[in-house]
Subunit: 143 residues, 6 copies
Amino acid sequence: MKTIYITRRETFNAAHKLVQPLWSDEKNEEVFGKCANKNWHGHNFTLYVTVKGKPEINTGFVINLKTLSNIIKENVIEPLDHKNLNLDVPFLVGMMASTENLAIAIWEQLEEDVLKHGGELAKIKLIETENNFVEYFGGKEPF
Amino acid sequence: MKTIYITRRETFNAAHKLVQPLWSDEKNEEVFGKCANKNWHGHNFTLYVTVKGKPEINTGFVINLKTLSNIIKENVIEPLDHKNLNLDVPFLVGMMASTENLAIAIWEQLEEDVLKHGGELAKIKLIETENNFVEYFGGKEPF
Amino acid sequence: MKTIYITRRETFNAAHKLVQPLWSDEKNEEVFGKCANKNWHGHNFTLYVTVKGKPEINTGFVINLKTLSNIIKENVIEPLDHKNLNLDVPFLVGMMASTENLAIAIWEQLEEDVLKHGGELAKIKLIETENNFVEYFGGKEPF
Amino acid sequence: MKTIYITRRETFNAAHKLVQPLWSDEKNEEVFGKCANKNWHGHNFTLYVTVKGKPEINTGFVINLKTLSNIIKENVIEPLDHKNLNLDVPFLVGMMASTENLAIAIWEQLEEDVLKHGGELAKIKLIETENNFVEYFGGKEPF
Amino acid sequence: MKTIYITRRETFNAAHKLVQPLWSDEKNEEVFGKCANKNWHGHNFTLYVTVKGKPEINTGFVINLKTLSNIIKENVIEPLDHKNLNLDVPFLVGMMASTENLAIAIWEQLEEDVLKHGGELAKIKLIETENNFVEYFGGKEPF
Amino acid sequence: MKTIYITRRETFNAAHKLVQPLWSDEKNEEVFGKCANKNWHGHNFTLYVTVKGKPEINTGFVINLKTLSNIIKENVIEPLDHKNLNLDVPFLVGMMASTENLAIAIWEQLEEDVLKHGGELAKIKLIETENNFVEYFGGKEPF
C-alpha cells in the first residue's frame, strides 16, 4: 500500500483587520490600505486540511472523514466561525491576523490531534477571497 | 430589437452582526445565534446587478459594461467594501444588516443612476455565502 | 416593505437509474442509454430552495435561514441523502426517477411546512450534474 | 402534470472583437476600449439553454437531454467553437459581436429545432466572463 | 526546455457503497454511517490527471490533450461512468470502494498507456464531493 | 518563522491559434484540430502566481498582495489581456502559443521582479479551460 493524500473542506466566516499597533495610522493605511479599516471587515474563509497516509486494509481509508471533520470542527471551526480574529480567539492573541499567520496557527491547532487519530497532517490551504489563498506544509518547502 | 438582460458581477468584503437593539441578549442569541456575536463576523459578498433593455444598434450593447461597472463601484462597492455594515455606511444607518435589507438598499443606490445612463435596473442578486443568497426585483414578483 | 426572494442551498448524494418497467431492455437502452444501467449510478445533487416574502421588521428576514434549513433537512435531505431514489424513498415510489420528477416531489414535500413558518415557497432548483439542472415554480410559468 | 424548466450547459471557445466599422478608430477605442484590439481577443463562452414543458409520463422527461445536447451542438457549438465570431459564422455576418447579439442569434438558431422535438425554448443564458453574462427570453420581459 | 505539468479534467457519475463484508452490520454502520446504505448511493466524480514532461519543440505540448483525453476515456471513464463501483468494474473487484482505493486503481489503469504516448503520469486528483478529495502521486510523498 | 506559500489570482482574455509554420495545413489540422483555425479562437485565461517566503514580523505577510498584484498586472496582464498571443506580445514572438509555453514565458516575466520585492516565485498555474491547465515550478520537479 502506498502513500495517498486526503483532503477535507470546511468553511468559516469571520471579521478581522490588519493593523500593526506599533505603527502610526498613516503607516498602517499606507501598508494595509482598506484592510486597516478600524471598524473591521470580514471574509468567508474556505479551509482545506490534507492528511497523508496509507489506506487501512479494512476500510480503504487513510483517515475516516467523519473523524477528520470532527477534529477540524472542534479545534478550528468552533473557535473561528462567526468570530473576530483579532479579539475573540485565544490561539490568535497578539498575532497579526494575516492569512499566512492564520494558516500557520490552524496547522498548530490540528497537528497533534490528527496524529492521535492515526493520520499525518500534510497541508493547510486557506482561501481568503477568490483572488488569494495561502498553503502551508508545516514549514516544509515541497517546491 | 427585443428586450435582453445583462448582468455585471462585483464583489465586496464586509463585517456585520445581526442584533435587534430592542431585544434582550437572550432573545438576540436565540434568533440570530452566532450571527449576533458582539465583536462582529464577516463575509465575501458577491453582487450581481442585472439591467434590461434592447441592444443599441451601433454597439450591440444594452449598456456599456464599463459604465455599469463604474456606477456599481461608485454607488455600492466604494461605500461597502472593507467596511462594517452596521457602523460605516450612511445608507444603512438604523437598518438591520440582513442580506435582504442590504439587497434592497443596493437597489435603491443604483436605480436612478442606471436610468440616467439609459438602462433599467431589473434585478439585484446578493450572495452572502455559498449556502444563501437573495434576489430582489424592485418589489416585483416575477414568480 | 417589498417582496424579496431568499434561497438556501443544501446537498445530497444518491443513487438512481432510469428504467421504464413497461418497456423492453432495448427500448430502455435506446431512450435512457447509460442512465438505464441495471446496477445503478449516482450523483451529487445540489438543491436550491427559494422562499419569497417581505422582510420582517425586527429581523430583516423573510424567513430565518436556520428554520428554512431545518425544514429542508427534515423533509428532503434526511429521506434522500445517501439513498437509492428508486428503492428507498417513500414519496418517490412508483415514479420515474428523473430530475424533473424529483424536483416536483421536493416542492410537494416542502410547500406546506414553509407556509407554516410564514414563508411562501417560490422555486426549486435541482442540479444533477454541472451540465444539467431543472427549475420548478410550483407549475407557474414565469417565462 | 405541471410545467417545469430543464437546462443544458454547453461550452465553446471563440475569438472576436468589438468594432463599429462606421466609426473612427478613436471613437471605437473610446467606446470599446481593449475589446476593439484589431488583432482580436477571445473567451471561453458558457451557454445555458433552458426548455420548458411538462414531464412526459413514460420517461419523466420534458425533453431527452441527449436530444437537446445534439440540437445545441449541431446548431450552435459546431458553428461557433474555436471560431472567429466576426469572420467565420454565417449566422453572425454583419452583426456587432456583442454578447447580447450573440445570445439572440443563438436563440434564433435553436428555437425551431427545439420545437420540432417537442420542447419550447424558454431562455438562453450566455456567460462571457465570470463578471458578465446575458439572459434572453425570446424578447419576453419576465421581470 | 524545462519540466512542466499539464492536467486534463474528466468526469464520471457512479454508484457505490462502503461495506466491509467481514464485519457485522453494526460495525459497518458505526464506521461507514450513511455510506453503508445497502441500496447504494452515488456521486459525480471529478478526475484530474496530471502528466509531466518537457514541451515538444514543434507543438509546445508535453502531450497532446486529445491523446490524453482519449487515454483517460478508454481506460477510466468508459469502465466507470454510470456504473456501480462495487459490482460493474473488473479492475475494482474485491476492493473497498473508497475514494483512496479508487484513485490508486485509476493511476494503475493509466500509467502504462500515458508512458507509451511519451508522457509520465505525475498525479491523480479525484474529487468525490465538494468537501473531500484525494491526491495520489504514484506512492511518492512530495510533501 | 516557517516557509509558507501565498497565491494571487489574475485573469486575462486573449486570442491565439496553434499552427506550426514548418508544417503543411494537413499536418497542422491533424495535430492541432480546431485549435489551428486560421482566423483564431480565444480563451478566458486564469493565472495563479505563487510566491514562497516567511511571514514578515510586522505585517504577517510573505509579500504584500497589492505589490504582487501590481507586479503581475504590469509584467503579464497588461501585455496579454485582450491581445492576440501570436501577434501582439513581444515576449511570445516566435513561440508556439501553447499553454505550456505561455506559462513558462509568464514565469520568466515575473521571476526577477518578485525577487526585487523580497519574494521568491514558486509556481505558475495557468488555466486555459475548465478541462485543462498547466503548472510550472521554474523547471523543478516537486512530484
